[in-house]
C-alpha cells in the first residue's frame, strides 16, 4: 500500500517539479532507477514470501543503487563504461524477471 502510494507521489512530483539534473549524474540516473526497481520487486517478492523486513528493504535499496552506480562509474573510469552499463542492466533485468516470476508463482499458486 505504502509502496504504491509512494510510487504515485513520486511520479506526480516528478511531473510537476522538473529540476535540472547535474551533468555528472545524468549517465547514472537510469541505472539508479533500474536498480531501485529491482530492489522494489525483491521487496515485493519477500512480502509475498512473508519474509519482508523493512531494514533489509532499505539496505537492499541503497546497496543496489550504490553498487550499480559505482560499477558504472568504475567502468567509465576504465573506459568500458557503456559495456559495464549494459552488463549491469542485463543483470538487473534478469533479477527483475526472476523476481516477477516468483511473485507470479505466489499470486497464481501452482
Amino acid at each position: 500500500m505504502a509502496a504504491v502510494l509512494g510510487l504515485i507521489i513520486g511520479v506526480v512530483i516528478g511531473i510537476f517539479v522538473q529540476p535540472d539534473i547535474p551533468v555528472f549524474m545524468q549517465p547514472y540516473l537510469p541505472i539508479m532507477v533500474v536498480a531501485a526497481l529491482d530492489a522494489l520487486l525483491g521487496a515485493a517478492r519477500a512480502y509475498f514470501q512473508r519474509s519482508f523486513s523493512d531494514k533489509v528493504f532499505v539496505i537492499s535499496f541503497f546497496s543496489n543503487v550504490i553498487t550499480a552506480t559505482l560499477l558504472v562509474l568504475l567502468g567509465n573510469q576504465l573506459g568500458v563504461g557503456s559495456q559495464l552499463q549494459t552488463a549491469v542492466i542485463v543483470v538487473l533485468g534478469i533479477r527483475i524477471f526472476s523476481n516477477v516470476s516468483a511473485i507470479r508463482r505466489f499470486i497464481f499458486r501452482g
Partner: protein
C-alpha cells in the same frame, strides 16, 4: 525406576508426536524453502510496546523510497532529450562520422539534382531556340510563299494600256524577272501576289495572272531597294523603254518608303511532293 520409566515413556512419545505434528504443520506452510515462523513473534514480543510506531516508520520508509524511484523514473523520462555532454567520446565520434556521411550523401544528391537542373535548362533553351528559328522560318517562308502580307521600301509601277499594241504576257513576265533580278523580295500585280509558281498568260480578254484577269492600268508593286528597282525598270534599253517604245504604254515608276502588299497567295496542297525524312 519403573514409575519413572513409565512416566518418561509417554512423555517422549507425546513429545515425538508433538514434534511430528509441528513438522507436518511447518511443511504445510506454503512459503519459501524455509519455514519463517519463530522470528516474527520474538521480534513482536520485544517491540510490542512500539509496534505500531515501527510499522509506521516502515511504511514511511517504503513510501519515501518508492517516491524516490518514481521521481527518478519520471525525471529520466523527461530527460531523454539529453544533451551531447553526457555522451562518451566514442559515441560522439560515431555521431560525427554518421553526420558527415549523411552530409556527403546529401551533397552528392544535390550535385545530381543540379546536373539535372542544368540539363533541363539547356533543353528548355534548345527548345526556345528551335521555336525562335521556327518562327523566323515561318515568317521568311510565309513571305516567300505569299502567305503573309508584307510591307517595306520599294516601288510602285503604273503601266497604262499600250497605244500601239496590247502588252503581252511575255513582256509582263520579263518585267517581273527584271524586278526579281534587281532584288525585289515581294511583288504583286494588281490584286495578285506574285510567287514562285505565278504565271501570266494571254487570253482574248487580256492578260490573266493566276486565273485572275488583269485590268489596265497594271499596277506592279515591288518591295526591295527602291533605287535598284527603279533603275532596273527605267534603265536605257530596259523593260521600261521597251514598253514605251514598242507598245506605246506609259510607265510611271514611283519609289516609296512604305509599299504595302496585302495580297496573299493560297498555299498549294502538294499531291506528289513529300519532304524527305
Amino acid at each position: 525406576m519403573a514409575p519413572h520409566r513409565k512416566s518418561t515413556r509417554p512423555d517422549v512419545l507425546s513429545r515425538m508426536h508433538d514434534q511430528h505434528a509441528q513438522d507436518r504443520k511447518n511443511d504445510r506452510v506454503e512459503t519459501g524453502s524455509f519455514p519463517v515462523v519463530g522470528r516474527k513473534p520474538r521480534r513482536n514480543r520485544s517491540l510490542d510496546s512500539n509496534r505500531s510506531r515501527a510499522r509506521l516508520i516502515t511504511n514511511i520508509f517504503v513510501l519515501v523510497l518508492c517516491a524516490l524511484l518514481g521521481y527518478g523514473y519520471v525525471i529520466q523520462i523527461n530527460n531523454t532529450r539529453s544533451t551531447y555532454e553526457t555522451m562518451s567520446e566514442e559515441e560522439l565520434t560515431r555521431l560525427i562520422s554518421e553526420t558527415s556521411n549523411q552530409v556527403q550523401l546529401l551533397e552528392e544528391r544535390r550535385n545530381e539534382l543540379e546536373d539535372q537542373l542544368t540539363s533541363l535548362q539547356e533543353a528548355a533553351n534548345t527548345q526556345e531556340e528551335a521555336q525562335r528559328i521556327a518562327r523566323q522560318n515561318e515568317e521568311t517562308s510565309g513571305i516567300l510563299s505569299g502567305r503573309l502580307p508584307a510591307v517595306g521600301k520599294g516601288v510602285v509601277i503604273q503601266i497604262s494600256q499600250g497605244r500601239i499594241a496590247t502588252v503581252d504576257a511575255a513582256t509582263m513576265f520579263s518585267l517581273i524577272e527584271e524586278l526579281r533580278n534587281a532584288g525585289a523580295e515581294v511583288i504583286a500585280i494588281n490584286d495578285v501576289r506574285v510567287v514562285t509558281r505565278t504565271y501570266i498568260s494571254d487570253t482574248d480578254e487580256g492578260l490573266v495572272c493566276d486565273g485572275t484577269p488583269l485590268q489596265t492600268p497594271y499596277v506592279v508593286k515591288a518591295i526591295g531597294d527602291p533605287q535598284n528597282l527603279q533603275n532596273a525598270v527605267s534603265i536605257a534599253g530596259g523593260i521600261g523603254s521597251r514598253l514605251e517604245v514598242r507598245y506605246g504604254a506609259t510607265v510611271d515608276v514611283t519609289t516609296s518608303d512604305s509599299v504595302e502588299i496585302d495580297e496573299i497567295a493560297e498555299s498549294p496542297q502538294y499531291t506528289y511532293a513529300r519532304t524527305v525524312q
